[in-house]
Point group: C2
Chain length 427, copies 2
Amino acid sequence: MNTHKEIKSDKIPELMRDIGARSKAASIILAEAKNSQKDMALAQAAICLRNSIKHILTENDKDLEYGREKGLDAAMLDRLKLDEKRIEAMAAGLETICTIPDPINKILEEWDRPNGLLLQRVSVPIGVIGMIYESRPNVTADAAALCIKSGNAVILRAGSECLHSAQAIAECLHQGLKIADLPADCVQLVPTRDRSAVGEMLTMTDFIDVIIPRGGKSLTKRIQDESRVPTLLHLDGNCHTYIHKAADLDIAKTVLLNAKMRRVGICGATESLLIDEEISEKFLPILADELIKAGCEIRGDKISQKLDSRIKQASEEDWYTEYLDAIISVKIVVNEAEAIAHINHYSSHHTDAIITTDISVARQFLREVNSSIVMHNTSTQFADGGEFGFGAEIGIATGKLHARGPVGAGQLTTYKYIVHGNGQVRP
Amino acid sequence: MNTHKEIKSDKIPELMRDIGARSKAASIILAEAKNSQKDMALAQAAICLRNSIKHILTENDKDLEYGREKGLDAAMLDRLKLDEKRIEAMAAGLETICTIPDPINKILEEWDRPNGLLLQRVSVPIGVIGMIYESRPNVTADAAALCIKSGNAVILRAGSECLHSAQAIAECLHQGLKIADLPADCVQLVPTRDRSAVGEMLTMTDFIDVIIPRGGKSLTKRIQDESRVPTLLHLDGNCHTYIHKAADLDIAKTVLLNAKMRRVGICGATESLLIDEEISEKFLPILADELIKAGCEIRGDKISQKLDSRIKQASEEDWYTEYLDAIISVKIVVNEAEAIAHINHYSSHHTDAIITTDISVARQFLREVNSSIVMHNTSTQFADGGEFGFGAEIGIATGKLHARGPVGAGQLTTYKYIVHGNGQVRP
């Protein structure tokens, strides 16, 4: 049963500005919080999650019912669904974030000037983060926890389908914050399904410092087009694995299979295989065997189709496509220069890998491929904040400014300069 | 004589996209350039500037004539005017930037993972920078040089009044680039005065990675409101100097005078003085003497007016105002908490300073004041890339993301992650 009472549309601007103002006020207190206090809030929220399984599942049932009424497909309902295991994973996630060193008040650089001034560049929280996500309720806990750890207040706009679940999870974060003597307003959930609330967030430059969307392309596109608040965007993950002629073929086979098929639905999954002409005749059919055996469809250029008749024809569109599915595009390239040029043209600049034993070609690839993450002899599926050692991530940024690659607590910080003098004046 | 031939409005979108595409192509080559090559381009451009004084001054005369026709005031004409000294300063500026260490390909962090992966975070150029400025022709050289040094191509949109001068300066940069065997397209000047060219730049997300405006409030505001390309904004410099009750009064006097009056028109100039009540009766009249002697008008709150009758009444508006003039606002505060709250409310988060001998109060101020630059016992006029040791700056960023404070060559970079493996796959 949907117990959510919708707020009148004409009240939304006022509601959102109130949330913004309270968030900003809370952010000032949170910015000064000790690491132990922030960790206590997270640890207590984890305890609350474990103690609230029944309540959370009841609320999640309401969302599932609402989702079914709305006609969500099976995949979306699965994303929406919580169970004991998923709630435990959320709680464990909060505890993992407790183990990260405090990203705040780190002296990033320090230097003296000839006039005796001492300059320090020190990490500080960004302030207020607006998180806009879709139907995964667990993002509520993950995003809030990373924001708390990095000293940022967060305004969470959950997908309308998961509002009840998100509310139940947010309540646990509030409880954790209260026990740690931090303002509950550090984590606020937008209490309406009205889409105009998103429009308000995107213009609240006086209260929100950065908007981070986490969801499908249409959400990200809307935010990119409309936001007046700076954004950290996670766009496509059209990732490439390039098998160079000097590749160790065992490594190439194992890594490619993992990069493509370990999980096909994550943004670090390889979507496109490039392979040097010189080894393609011998090696492509072996790779195709493995991929097809694993259930992968292959779409390739004309040359690859000649080498293996099971390969379907790729269109120009395929080179741009993030399938998020058991499909891979294949292109035969003359050499590393063509591979690099192809990747720089078609890649979404997320993660691209080369497999080779030739160190100088590897160096060229790592230098010249203009992506957030470039890899040598390993699987693109390692493009993940946890795998990077960040504890957790809020997404993978594919833009050029502020943060690129996995966005963990450390990336949710900015810096300020502290200048220590003893009476210096500028001549 | 204005020799500029205007391009038809309907040709502007095509023109701008062509500039964008050429810029992007050039940026790929420049990103791979050696530091010695970039330095050679700058050094040769400096030589060219010195050899082209006559030509540059002739072109500058055309701009001045155009400016007078347009009815520019004396201050704007002065900003527009070049002379031998100013051209020499530009050339010397390029040479200074040669002395900065290469900001590209620096390993910023490096760590191992338990699975044997080696991760590196490495500085790389941003790509293409769109620089939009007003009537100072020297920005052409400064901005282009910082972009070249940081491996970024730049599209320069000069103010319409300085187009001839900017063109003459840009030609010297082209000559430097050619001698260094780098594409002239690394530096492109928009060859039209049509304002729609700016509108095009602000939407060219496929070619331009960041827009940096340098000019007055109306320019910055337009860009903040309209740009679809991420921006690095330099907003107001409403800087504060707070004199705490435990201040060394000699330091306070000297530093305040410098902070306010050394140059009143720069963004790091102090615009507002806060002073603790406990010392205000004794000390405010002394400070007021010095300020008034130096030609400064003082606008204060009611208490300050009681202490010194020469102080005019400040309005609420004054606390927000960046005068850029010989005017200062004065507020008496009860203690550091009130000073910090006032600054966090009214400051533009550019640069704020405390004068005190009390280290623990200083620490609190430096931690709690949420500005790009916070200072202890020194002049806010040190808020400058050159004074920070950055060699030069393109502006002072007042936003929260990517770069805060002086933006030099180092801040015109981003990073990528390089992951070195030997066949690891993700479990």
